[in-house]
């Protein structure tokens, strides 16, 4: 079991969500994040031009079984990409344990609903 974290463009979120759904990844968390980086955006306030270093992105956190890791990464690489600087990053890390609170199921079983998925 792996955690796939992806920082993507806010404008790409709907496309990424749709693509993940198509490959069967229906559960994940996401939130808006701000970061630092080289990208600068020009703002104007009452005739004063200044740079903001604030970079706004959306972060996704997806926990998947081993068999879904590669297709999830491929899906993200494809759907979040524009080719311009600032498309984001993907980080993959192992998950030690997982539980479903309602049923007490552990491990892989906690990630999908029996009967709806194999």
């Amino acid at each position: 079991m792996k955690k796939i974290e992806a920082i993507i463009r806010k404008s790409k979120f709907d496309e990424v969500k749709g693509a993940l759904k198509e490959i069967g990844i229906e559960f994940f968390s996401y939130w808006d994040v701000r970061g630092e980086g080289k990208s600068r955006q020009e703002r104007v306030y009452r005739g004063r031009v200044f740079d903001t270093s604030v970079i706004e992105r959306t972060m996704l956190s997806i926990i998947v079984r081993e068999k879904n890791v590669n297709k999830t990464i491929d899906c993200l690489m494809d759907s979040a990409r524009t080719g311009e600087i600032g498309d984001g990053k993907i980080f993959v890390s192992p998950i030690e344990k997982a539980y479903r609170i309602r049923t007490g199921e552990e491990g892989d079983q906690s990630l999908f609903i029996k009967g709806e998925e194999e």
Binding site: R43, V44, Y45, R46, G47, R48, V49, F50, T52
Partner: protein
């Protein structure tokens, strides 16, 4: 000045017809009074509230709101009497006395002793009192823009009340009362260029200098937390200003129509000029910029509204946008004072420019008795400059003294943690967005 042509009732010529309350003029003045109230609440409150950071927005709204309440009480208690009443002896040109304290002796059928062009068909005295009350409210509220984001609420409240009593009321008396010494000098100020804008603008500059910069604000502007609020507030200011200027003739007549016309034209010219300057120099016209330009135009046309025509309004609108743009974008940063929301840069500078240009563009085709430099009356420019200088010096010195007294007694600047975490939580126990 404003009430060019006021004659106290008792001085009326016995042969002239008896003044009475005109239904038409009264109807317009009730509406105009409500429009001027709208300028402070919610117009100015949202204009300033949107420009500050999200942690301080309630503080701004609260400052505007409490002034609307407190100044009203001060006004009926003794403020109106001090500003527009009369006193005897050597004090008469300087302050109004207490004869009308708590509006004593003023009945509902009394006609206003003040008028401009309509000497017979007048409005009720109580409507005049209320109309002026709205001016007394917005003037100290304008200063909020200079000390925003770092003043203690207690310090602000005491300062504003004392300023209203010791600065606004006397200056209003000098300029607008029939006994006033600046009025007798012959300066032109239709709706409050010197009394409201120069007065508040200079106080704003002194407060910004005395309080010092906000912590952590160095060169880079703080980003407005809600620009739609700024646009909403500026729109309401523009709308309310029709009452402010077109109501200052105290009648529904051609002079009011002219004030309405030139007010609208000057605001439009200044808004457009500001937007074009930004478009040309920064490639993008900003919404904060166009809103600021409109307000600058409204400020500058205020003293001129009853004296200039459309040509003058266009010239004043374009000029004020250029000058205020240079002030807030270049001069302020070169000099290095932290006028948070440009109360001095827009109201002070715009007010001074408007007052001086009134002396340039006043035309006999609007009020036959008043002409400016373009019609050969160069002396008028000098009189305008003198009135501006007098009000600026008085307002500046008094503001300095009030600051020192309040700073030494109750304290006026908030602690570092309050400034960093926001005045809303520490001064009001609330947060705007939950």
């Amino acid at each position: 000045m404003l009430f060019a042509g006021i004659i106290p009732l008792m001085a009326q010529d016995v042969a002239s017809p008896e003044p009475f309350i005109s239904a038409g003029n009264t109807a317009w003045m009730i509406v105009a009074t409500a429009l001027v109230f709208l300028m402070t609440l919610p117009g100015l409150a949202f204009f300033y509230g949107g420009l500050v950071r999200r942690k301080n927005v309630l503080n701004i709204l609260m400052q505007c709101f409490i002034l609307a309440a407190a100044i009203t009480i001060e006004w009926v208690a003794f403020g109106y009497s001090n500003a527009f009443g009369s006193s005897s002896g050597a004090l008469a040109p300087y302050i109004g006395g207490f004869d009308w304290a708590f509006l004593s002796g003023i009945g509902i059928s009394d006609v206003s002793p003040y008028y401009i062009s309509q000497s017979v068909e007048r409005i009720p005295h109580i409507i005049f009192i209320l109309f002026q009350c709205m001016f007394a409210i917005i003037t100290p509220a304008l200063i909020i823009g200079a000390f925003a984001e770092r003043i203690s609420f207690k310090g602000f409240f005491i300062f504003s009340l004392l300023w209203a009593v010791l600065v606004y009321n006397p200056v209003a008396h000098w300029v607008w009362s029939a006994d006033g010494w600046l009025y007798k000098l012959g300066a032109l100020d239709f709706a409050g260029g010197t009394v409201v804008h120069v007065n508040a603008g200079i106080a704003a500059l002194v407060m910004a200098l005395m309080l010092g910069k906000r912590r952590g604000v160095n060169g880079t502007p703080t980003v407005p937390h809600n620009i739609p609020f700024v646009v909403l507030g500026a729109g309401l200011l523009w709308f309310g200003w029709f009452g402010f200027n077109a109501g200052s003739g105290l009648a529904a007549d051609g002079l009011a129509g002219n004030a309405f016309l030139v007010t609208h034209v000057a605001a439009a010219a200044a808004a457009l000029t500001w937007a074009l300057i930004e478009w040309f120099f920064h490639k993008t016209p900003t919404t904060v910029g166009i809103a600021t330009g409109a307000v600058a135009g409204l400020v500058a046309i205020t003293p001129a509204a009853g004296f200039v025509g459309v040509g003058g309004a266009l010239a004043i609108g374009v000029a004020v946008a250029v000058v205020c743009f240079i002030m807030v974008s270049i001069v302020k940063h070169k000099v290095g004072y932290d006028d948070t929301l440009d109360a001095f840069g827009v109201h002070g500078v715009g007010g001074i420019l408007g007052a001086v240009l009134t002396g340039v563009f006043a035309t006999a085709s609007v009020q036959s008795a008043y002409t400016g430099a373009i019609e050969g009356n160069f002396k008028q420019v000098g009189i305008q400059l003198l009135a501006v200088a007098v009000v600026a010096v008085f307002s500046g010195v008094m503001t300095f003294i009030l600051f020192k007294i309040i700073d030494k007694t109750v304290g006026i600047k908030v602690k570092a943690i309050v400034e960093e975490e926001g005045l809303d939580i520490y001064e009001h126990g609330e947060s705007a967005y939950n």
